[in-house]
Amino acid sequence: MDLSLPDEARRAAEVIRRADIVIGIPSYNNARTIGHVVRAANAGLAKYFPQLTAVVINSDGGSTDSTREAVLSACVEDSRLMLLSTPLVAAHRLSFPYHGVPGKGSAFRMVFQMAKQLDAKVCAVVDSDLRSITPEWIDLLIRPVLFAGFDFVAPYYQRHKYDGTITNSIVYPLTRMLYGVSVRQPIGGEFGVSARLIRRYLARQDWETDVARFGIDIWMTTVAIAEEFRVCQSFLGAKLHDAKDPGSDLSAMLEQVVGSVFTLMQEYAPVWQRRTGSTPAELFGFRFDVGLDPIQVNVDRMVQAFRRGCEDLGEIWETTLGKRTFMAVRRLGNSLGESRESFHLDDELWAEVILDFACAYRKHPLARGMILRSLTPLYLARVASFVRDTENLVADEVEEKIEQLCLTFQNLKPSLAARWNGEPVQGGGRRPQRERAAANEMDQTNVEV
């Protein structure tokens, strides 16, 4: 019996006794959208897995807007609407407040504990603010685990070119470089997880760290990849979700997500130092093009944030970045005075910035929060450059750009490993553009991507 489960959850588990599938939905004040998510989950379970027993669990962070009532009262679709000949039976629906540090990670923890308690074969987790979820998502997240022997199903979305910038500029290239497996949306938010992997997650002792908050997604993906669980991706179409909390802070998000990546990077240093190149995780689902919500960006404001960073954060960057990287950043900052139009933080400098931050994060444990928060202006500079670069590009061309960035990260892996081990860096630092391009071309022919 797991003592960290809330009493009512434990009692419910004792009544239900066992379930083949558990669908987890973390929530906090999502009354507006969670009903749709629960209906989609129910319909997906009834349509694709009618022969299996299932439970939909809402793990709530203390909502005050009747989110839990919305879960319990969400009505099931009519069988005829779903084109089903048999009556549609709703899965068990449960809603409990979770214990521990407030955040998505703590919510997932309770879902996983319930899945273990109910001896579930598979557990899928989906966000509660999704507007584009369909019953097919449930099938795509569960089927690879149930019928193809995979342990971890990551989502693969069609996203706007300016959506998911932390994923595109940091988490995806870095995770792929480190662990040699290309999972396009490592912090997607929707996952399918096998019973074996759930046991592994629950056995870990780092649930009270940033993992409990925004770090949970990258933590789940990294543990699965680094510990050689079978990982695949499922194409889910577009991800459209409710506007997030306006008060949420970019620096805090960066701190939690990037901090989780860097922390795991230390734990799995022997793993990533052994791995070279990268291979894509298998992709399931029928790919199709979808219309996406437009995203407005203010490049000038981002450049302005970088300028302020250059003016005021020099003393922190100087001790965080390597000497050459710091000089390059300073030159970039100085160039702002000449012309804002020519401003560009290129792939190699960006990759070096991230790797320097990773090393500094390891080197200065007491100043980690401050180091990570000082990354914000540099991140904004990178996003501004990316936006300018891709202004007139279509989705495939943007994907090609991101691919180039990934290869740049991969090129720098040997120098990262050397620095990590305190060895002198062979040929480190920024190479001339032409040389870099040549190296990238070579890598493109060598690495399977």
Binding site: G164, S248, M253, E315, T319, M370
Partner: protein
Amino acid sequence: MIETLKNILEGALERLQQQMTTYLPSFLAALTLIFGAYLIATLARWLIYRIFKGLTVDKFLRQSGIAFLVDPSGGLRATRLAAGTVYWFILLSGVLLGLNVFNTDLTTQIIQSFVFLVPKLFVAGLILLSGTWLGQYLGRGMLVWAVNENFPSPRRLAAVVRILIMFVAVVVAADQLDFARSVFLAAFIIFVGGAVLAGSLAIGLGGRKMQRFFEERTEQTGDSERSLWNHL
């Protein structure tokens, strides 16, 4: 006349001899003690240097981030600092022991003051060191926060935090040493009172400006644009 001169000279020589016999052994003993202390201090410095090097204290401080927070330039070497402290402590103790040989009221008073002062000095030093560390830490935290939140004059804000914390540390350290207690306390009250008054005036007079600043900031990060910040 000659006899008188002779008597004076003899008296002077006699007094010199008497003083020599009284103080010279003490002086030589004091010199020996100081020399001995010097030898022990040198030996202790060498030993501590070796032990700290062996225990890789500097590496630990560097890796734990303590060195970075106290001295971001990376120049702090705890090994050298500890060895130097022990060296000067032993040498100073030797000098005091040497003075004690003379057994005068003055030397006894000096030694007593020193013995009572050492623990206080140690505590005051710790307070100042902690103040420096905390000032640096919070100052930098404030700097990064102010830059990310687009606050005006982030470096000034950070400097204010540093100065405030250092000032508090100095006041507490001075209080610990019983050094100009009332002066520091008065200065502290004036400083804090002044800061509160200045803050109140700033909020009163600049309230409208602040409101405009926050409104502009909110407008700048409108819902459509905010989506970029929130989509991971």
